[in-house]
């Protein structure tokens, strides 16, 4: 039983909390050191490369104007490429009318849907700038988000930078509220920590930036689903670093219906098997070119948390069901209390870094329900991982058009 329980107790539950607390304490000490021994330096955006923002979408006529308005005029050396991936609504005409009124906006329209990867790749021949930034067409950016996301590229070793994705519709219903806290915990805080120890393996599709040279080297996006994670891993494999810009914030609409959420998470979990366990498993081999220990660590982290612990968790529950005794409810309640307490500790760290503490505090009040939410997601994870391991369900998903998924390789 201990074999099953210990990893869950000491790895899974405090996964984000320990890292977040360590990060926070380290940052505090750093600030204290700066305060005592260094003169304070103002935070300025002194790196300003040329960027192309690619907004690819399908049937996003309603949300696209808001996205474009949030982008326009926020960065001086910027071009925008809008790619309509075969929409049946007014997306192209809306984008075109925006382009007519604003300089530096290109609209590309495809008659037939080709998938998100090819839509993003379609923008590349039209972009000559140093940095390519991807923004989902149902998202909008916070002020200075573009400035924040390009600053890490000052280091020529950096190939990709992930922005923070937060829930725009956080208070729409309980499902979105739970996701909003999850995004704060896993993306805002989790990626901050992962970036610090150089094991960040994902650049959000909703808001991520890539060095053009790195994109050319790896040939752009591959067929999805999970194309954003796949591209990040390939960029890491080609020798670049991947960083996180916590204050480059993007607000996106999260699924409002439970079944849509499950479908989305199922897709995300498939990507772990497809990419980390199959396609890019060579990243962990010391014999592969551009091998880095951080890449191996990244794979170990994914295998452990996303695959191994998922199975262990359910194995533990099965074991518990077969060894039921009077203290089990108390034991489970203790786990629940510990989990919630750690979530509140995580919330404290989030508030320490937050740009909008009041909003994030309200979002964090959902923490007592998070264990139940996580329980459901664990079930989805088990289902998705198992089906992907045995039947490769990802290549039957409608996220990619049929003619593309029939032609592509089934990893």
């Amino acid at each position: 039983m201990l074999v099953l329980l210990l990893p869950i107790l000491f790895l899974e539950i405090p996964r984000y909390t320990l890292g977040a607390v360590a990060l926070c304490l380290g940052h505090m000490l750093y600030q204290l050191f700066n305060y005592c021994f260094r003169s304070p330096s103002p935070c300025v955006f002194d790196y300003c490369p040329t960027i192309t923002v690619v907004v690819a979408g399908l049937n996003e006529a309603k949300t696209l104007p808001h996205t474009l308005e949030s982008l326009w005029g926020t960065y001086p050396r910027m071009n925008i490429v809008v790619v309509d991936d075969g929409s049946t609504d007014e997306m192209t005409s809306i984008a075109q009318s925006f382009a007519d009124a604003h300089e530096g906006v290109i609209v590309l329209s495809r008659a037939e849907r080709g998938g998100k990867s090819s839509a993003l790749n379609y923008a590349l021949p039209f972009a000559d700038d140093e940095i390519v930034v991807c923004v989902d067409s149902d998202s909008h950016l916070a002020p200075n988000a573009l400035w924040e996301i390009v600053q890490p590229f000052r280091d020529p070793r950096v190939g990709a930078v992930s922005g923070t994705v937060l829930a725009r519709n956080a208070f729409c219903n309980l499902v979105t509220w739970l996701q909003a806290f999850e995004y704060l915990r896993c993306i805002f805080l989790g990626r901050m920590f992962a970036s610090k120890i150089d094991i960040l393996g994902i650049t959000s599709g909703a808001f991520g930036a890539f060095r053009r040279e790195a994109l050319d080297r790896v040939g752009g996006w591959d067929v999805g689903p999970g194309e954003d994670g796949d591209l990040t891993l390939r960029i890491r494999k080609s020798g670049y670093r991947v960083l996180f810009a916590p204050y480059a914030q993007c607000f996106t609409n999260v699924p409002t219906h439970f079944w849509r959420l499950l479908k989305q998470r199922r897709r995300w979990e498939w990507a772990v098997i497809t990419f980390e366990c199959r396609k890019h498993v060579d990243m962990g081999s010391p014999l592969s070119p551009n091998f880095r220990f951080a890449n191996l660590l990244l794979l170990i982290e994914r295998w452990t948390f996303n695959v191994l612990l998922t199975f262990l968790f359910w194995a533990y529950l099965v074991w518990l069901a077969f060894h039921w005794h009077a203290n089990v409810p108390l034991q489970l309640f203790t786990y629940y209390v510990i989990y919630v307490a750690l979530d509140f500790l995580t919330l404290g760290v989030i508030l320490y870094y937050s740009l909008d503490p009041k909003r994030d505090l309200i979002i964090g009040l959902i923490a007592p329900l998070m264990p139940f939410y996580q329980f459901v997601l664990r079930a989805v994870s088990l289902w998705a991982i198992t089906e992907e391991i045995f039947v490769r369900s990802s290549f039957r998903d409608t996220f990619v058009p049929e003619h593309v998924r029939n032609a592509t390789w089934h990893w």
């Binding site: 067929v223 593309v404 032609a407």
Partner: protein, 299 residues
Amino acid sequence: MLYDSALNLFCDAPSVDVGPCGSAPYENPKAAERRVAARYLFTKPMAVIPILPDHSPDSAFRGDAISSDISASGMGFEIDALRSFPGRRMLIGVEGDDGLLYYATVEVRNQCECEGRLRVGVRFVPHNNDLLRWENLFPTLQPCSYQFATGLPESTLRRWVEIGVLEPFLADRPLLCPRCHALPTYHQGCKQCGSARLDNQRLIHHFPCAYVGYTEEFDRTGEMICPKCRVRNLVVGADYEYLQGPHRCADCGWSGTDLETVGYCLACHWRFTLRQAWQAEFIGYHVNRLDPLAIIGPT
């Protein structure tokens, strides 16, 4: 429309003194001029404005008259006040039934005093000598300079406006060369240098690896090979599709989708963008024209 109504109006006019239009020609034994065309009795109040050598109106000699007869090539009228006209060319305005004056340029063929009045025979001038011809009243392209100008100087036309013969109207607002105001041609050109020498490149989307690149990248050895995943013998439709690519300028190498509307001046060969073009205001002049054939009617 006004002009059309005026024509209809004059079709009915001859019924005043003689038979309706198209009746047998009337032989006026007192006619001073020697017109070969059949003439018709035609009595209407009219204004007579002599034209000075610089084509401006001679307002001092302006007088009111009564027409006596009309033919396809000329007309006769009688005027009280004048002994003789200072020049040969003049503008006559014949009052229509609507009270408006309808003008024509005429040339005095003969004039004589008769019973204390001056009887004048005039001929309608040919088109190339007509003061009221279209080229004189509307800015037209000058073939040598590629610029637009009216046949008569602006100051002269304004004098005709002052006496109520011409009526100015905004005819057009064309976009002309900002440097010399001459006629340009417009084309969709390179956003950077304005050149019209653009190639529209095609892209290929390879389905299996989602790569999108120029056709040249795929077809380097005469065989279709994906530059990203190295798959050979690609078949269009099954493995890849064509997409529209950006335009590329053959002169400066610029690449993009958004073309600029570029103007090219035919006179000074200046290249400019549409936003730089000079917006001119073409003022044309409207006149109520007298049409003798409409008055006479079918013969």
